[in-house]
Amino acid sequence: MNVVALADFGSTFTKVTLVEAGSGRLVATGSAPTTVVTDVMEGYAAAMDDALSAAPAAGATVEARLACSSAGGGLRMAAVGLVPELTAAAARMAALNAGARVELVLAGTLGDKDCLLLESCKPEIVLFSGGTDGGQADFVLENARVLSRAKVVGHMIVACNAVVAGTVAEMFAHAGWQVKVVANVMPQIRALNIGPARQAILDTFINHVIHGKGLSRTKEFGESVLMPTPEAVLRATSLLAAGTESEAGFGDLVVVDVGGATTDIHSALVDPPRRNWVQAGDLPLPSVMRSVQGDLGMRWSAPGVFEADGLWLTTELADTGWNECELRAKCEQMRVHPELLAAGPNERLLDQAIAVSCISLGLRRHSGTMSIGYRRDREVDFIQKGADLRDVGLIIGSGGVLAHDPEAARLLDRAAGRREKGSLAPVAPRIALDVNYVLPAAGLLSTRNPLAALTLIKTEVRGVSNAA
């Protein structure tokens, strides 16, 4: 049997998924600790052995090896723009949608302190934007001039006002940056064009960044890694929503991944609602979108969860007998000792409550809000900020606590039900679970066989088929 080996180099574990080459049927999975200190391919070999040993006795011939990676800190980026709500937001969106960790966003007219921020951040890629095409030039050139003085170099993708993009590129190249110029992320007001910048980020990641991390000395590693892991999940999300030419998708959906440090939300809208009566701002949102909540996570970010949702957690966990101070201390302990697993029923309840918090707050932040602007004698205005996901019919829980907790479906349901007035989070979604963590694998597989990738998701994500 010919199989495709689909690997995800995670920060702690490397997971390998074997699927039948033509059909996408799951053959076996395996995992092993990621071996960043020596060579990540050692961990990969162990994970592959684990998977092959679980494969049917008839044996499997590996036809192709594809991989995604978030090892070594994933893809760290900075986004630069002019107006925070416009070009800077567009650049940030492009970076997030390429699977990056956006560690710094710079906006406005920049100065020396911004250079210092860039130097301390040391991003692997900077996405530089600003101005519509034919629009703002002076401030954009000024920003380029300032940033080119920073004592840091790396990969710079220029996606600004096309009229000055060449000049901007020259400035950065002169300062030692590896520069690539692509189309403006916001060529005009109310137009978002993040596709070219996103592709440039992925190309740079594959061709340069992943090699520069020193994760492996082997040629095989560099050849197999196609994208950052979040990008693979986003591709799977998009595929499942839209389907393929021959097979329909499931329509609008959201994927939630609660990790130890972050909560990642991916959404895909096949047919976004058209509501002319709503004022939705000058920056349209892409139909496929990813957000990362850096303060919401099960271990390293547990204190952040308590900070954001402490009152609810305290009320929710009243039966444990822990008061607010004790709960805060527990969360801090989780940050300091992320390796510890829940001990006893009360700590299990705490884990579950934190998971519900991460999901519900993550969904709220990923989704937009709708408010009513009304003044006597003025006509009313409906102001939408962010994406309207209320009609989303399916939420998939993926990875981490949602893969391992037997009550994961209930937790997701509970989190989705914690609605806040004015929130545009999904209203009545059905729940599905990616227990075997096949979404990154499906995203990888979709690059060579979308139908097989769709089959893999439909057969392996629990609850998806029932949701049709």
Binding site: L82, V83, E85, L86, T87, T109, G130, G131, T132, G134, G135, Q136, A137, D138, F139, M186, Q188, I189, P273, R274, R275, N276, W277, V278, Q279, D282, M370, I372, G373, Y374, R376, D377, R378, E379, V380, D381, F382, D388, R390, D391
Partner: protein, 597 residues
């Protein structure tokens, strides 16, 4: 299924303030009050031998007796009363039937509670100050009055309806005026409850022929873009008045309808959604077709009245057309001018049977059917959306308040009968576009023709002009973007209802040379202050700013907004006095070589 049914995406219940009293409580109070009122009979009702105007109008339509109506409102009630007498005598002297009814065009103070009227500023039109004035409305001549303008709608609604019923008036309005605001009155909720109580008074006499009338154009439909939505709005008012409150509802309209064919179809559509066939109080004559040439306006009156009468007679609507005096566009008509068009109107009765049979009514009926289908869609969309987004559609107060707060533009955008189409200002293609919109589009064409004649340097094409409105007036912004496009500037449409911060953000990213603001919501000075401040922060202080529209500001202590143009000039903002002035100023910033900035 209509698209708005799927999801409007808005919680309309959020428009209802906490503690809004139950509307039906006010209605029941009104019904109890209504049962205590002793009603006299007017001279007209005595002459006809009926208990109510509705009773007569229903009999008249069966017997094919045409009725007419007139608007009248001179400076005082005494002058108005004397004019009524003169019109009546003049008709008899000419040998024509006097008008059947008249609309009292009362002054706005009549909308206030009685005790507030004397201290409020005087405006145009008569005020009925005492019982004798009221008595004379029905007992001067046998012409039946309609207590409409400023009677029900304002905080004085209950005072007025009680006085009207006492003297024998049986049609009282105006439902649609509930959306108005009266000077010296800021309690929107109290006003609404008084209107509902007044409606309850009328409901108490539904079986005796009391009617709660509306005039569509006085309310939100007056600025609708689609006549089908007129019909839908009338259905909503009928639902509230008849189903919820229990009053008989009639629906008058017509002033903003210039095309006689469309007007005929609209009359028929409003009749088709009127299951009890309550006769409309009146059909208003065309008020937008008349221009400065009074002689030419005779043609407007003749064609308008003829079609209103032919439609009324053929379909036995029981309406009462108003012939608009040809001078009304420029002044309050004298009684002689009213008599003239009333005589024309009566004379037209002779032509109705001669011309009516040769009109292609099936085409008019086809338009009617489109209007009815569209109107039902608007109604269904609105009621369904309210029901599912937190509004108690059994409470007339909640329904009326939410619709009022939404306003005309949002109502059409949300619930409109037309298909969604971004090429139209309200995002939907009208089933039948209103004449108001047609007039505006014609105005735009004239404007563009004017602009085409203004010389401008080629450098205009390099100018980036951001256009925005501080309010919901999409027409004004539309005209400005059209003009900017026409002169060849690079126009950046920033949208309506924008804040200064929104505009500055767009100006920064686009490196705007000019910001063009249209404002009609009484915030010109504070908006300009903030805009200039934000431009300074963004290092865009040299951007030229122009403002137009209504350049005033609501200020504490003044009942009316004050003119703030001099304040704007101090801020460096230009306020062009005409479109030529604006185009000249913008063109002046351009040079063939480079933009001015």
């Amino acid at each position: 299924m209509a698209e708005a049914r799927l999801s409007i995406g808005i919680e309309l219940g959020d428009l209802i303030p906490a503690g809004l009293p139950a509307g039906m409580d006010a209605v029941e109070e009104g019904k109890a009050l209504g049962r205590t009122i002793e009603r006299a009979r007017s001279l007209y009702l005595e002459e006809k031998g009926v208990g109510s105007e509705r009773e007569w109008r229903e009999r008249a339509r069966i017997e094919g007796i045409p009725c007419t109506c007139m608007n009248i409102g001179l400076a005082t009630w005494a002058e108005t009363r004397d004019a009524l007498g003169a019109i009546y005598e003049n008709a008899l002297a000419r040998g024509v039937r006097p008008p059947d009814r008249y609309n009292i065009l009362a002054e706005r103070r009549m909308g206030l509670p009685k005790e507030m009227r004397a201290s409020a500023p005087q405006e145009t039109g008569p005020v009925l100050w005492n019982d004798n004035d009221w008595w004379e409305t029905t007992h001067t001549v046998p012409i039946q009055p309609y207590a409409g303008d400023n009677m029900i709608g304002g905080p004085g609604s209950v005072d007025n309806v009680v006085d009207a019923l006492r003297v024998g008036i049986t049609y009282v309005g105006v439902v649609s005026q509930y959306s108005w605001r009266w000077p010296y009155w800021d309690d929107e909720i109290a006003q609404l409850m008084v209107v509902l109580k007044a409606a309850g008074v009328l409901a108490s006499g539904r079986e005796e022929g009391l009617v709660f009338d509306s005039y569509l154009e006085d309310g939100l439909p007056g600025v609708f873009h689609d006549y089908a939505n007129y019909v839908g709005w009338a259905m909503i008012e009928r639902y509230v008045c008849e189903r919820l409150i229990g009053a008989a509802y009639s629906c008058s309209f017509g002033g903003l309808t210039h095309n006689p064919i469309i007007k005929s179809a609209l009359s028929l559509a409003l009749d088709a959604v009127n299951p009890d066939r309550v006769p409309a109080a009146f059909v208003q004559g065309d008020t937008i077709g008349n221009k400065a040439d009074f002689d030419a306006n005779m043609a407007v009156v003749a064609s308008d009245v003829l079609f209103m009468k032919m439609t009324d007679m053929r379909y036995r609507l029981g309406g009462a057309p108003i012939a608009v005096p040809v001078t009304e566009i420029e002044r309050i008509p004298a009684w002689q001018e009213i008599s003239t068009v009333q005589t024309i109107s009566r004379k037209m009765d002779e032509y109705v049977p001669l011309i009516g049979p040769y009109i292609n009514w099936s085409e008019i009926e086809a338009i009617r059917d489109r209007l009815v289908t569209g109107g039902r869609r608007f109604f269904d969309n609105a009621i369904h959306a309210m029901e599912h987004t937190g509004v108690n559609t059994r409470d007339p107060g909640q329904v009326l308040l939410v619709l009022k707060r939404l306003g005309a533009a949002k109502l059409e955008e949300l619930f409109g009968a037309g298909a969604i189409n971004d090429n139209f200002l309200r995002g939907r293609e009208p089933v039948i576009q209103t004449d108001l919109v047609k007039e505006t589009m014609a105005f735009r064409e004239r404007l563009l023709a004017t602009v085409a004649d203004i010389p401008r340097p080629p450098g205009v094409a390099d100018l980036k002009v951001v256009v925005a409105s501080t309010d919901v007036h999409e027409f004004a912004k539309f005209l400005l973007t059209s003009v900017c496009d026409a002169i060849g500037a690079h126009t950046i449409d920033c949208g309506i209802n924008r804040d200064p911060e929104d505009i500055v953000r767009v100006a920064v990213e686009t490196d705007a040379d000019v910001i063009l603001i249209t404002t009609h919501n009484g915030v010109a000075r504070s908006f300009a202050d903030k805009l200039v401040h934000e431009l300074g922060i963004a290092r865009m202080a040299d951007t030229a700013v122009f403002m137009g529209g209504v350049l005033n500001e609501d200020v504490a202590g003044s009942e009316i907004p004050i003119d703030v143009r001099s304040d704007l000039h101090k801020l460096g903002i230009r306020t062009p006095t005409s479109i030529e002035d604006l185009v000249g100023s913008i063109s002046g910033m351009a040079t063939p070589a480079a933009p001015a900035r």
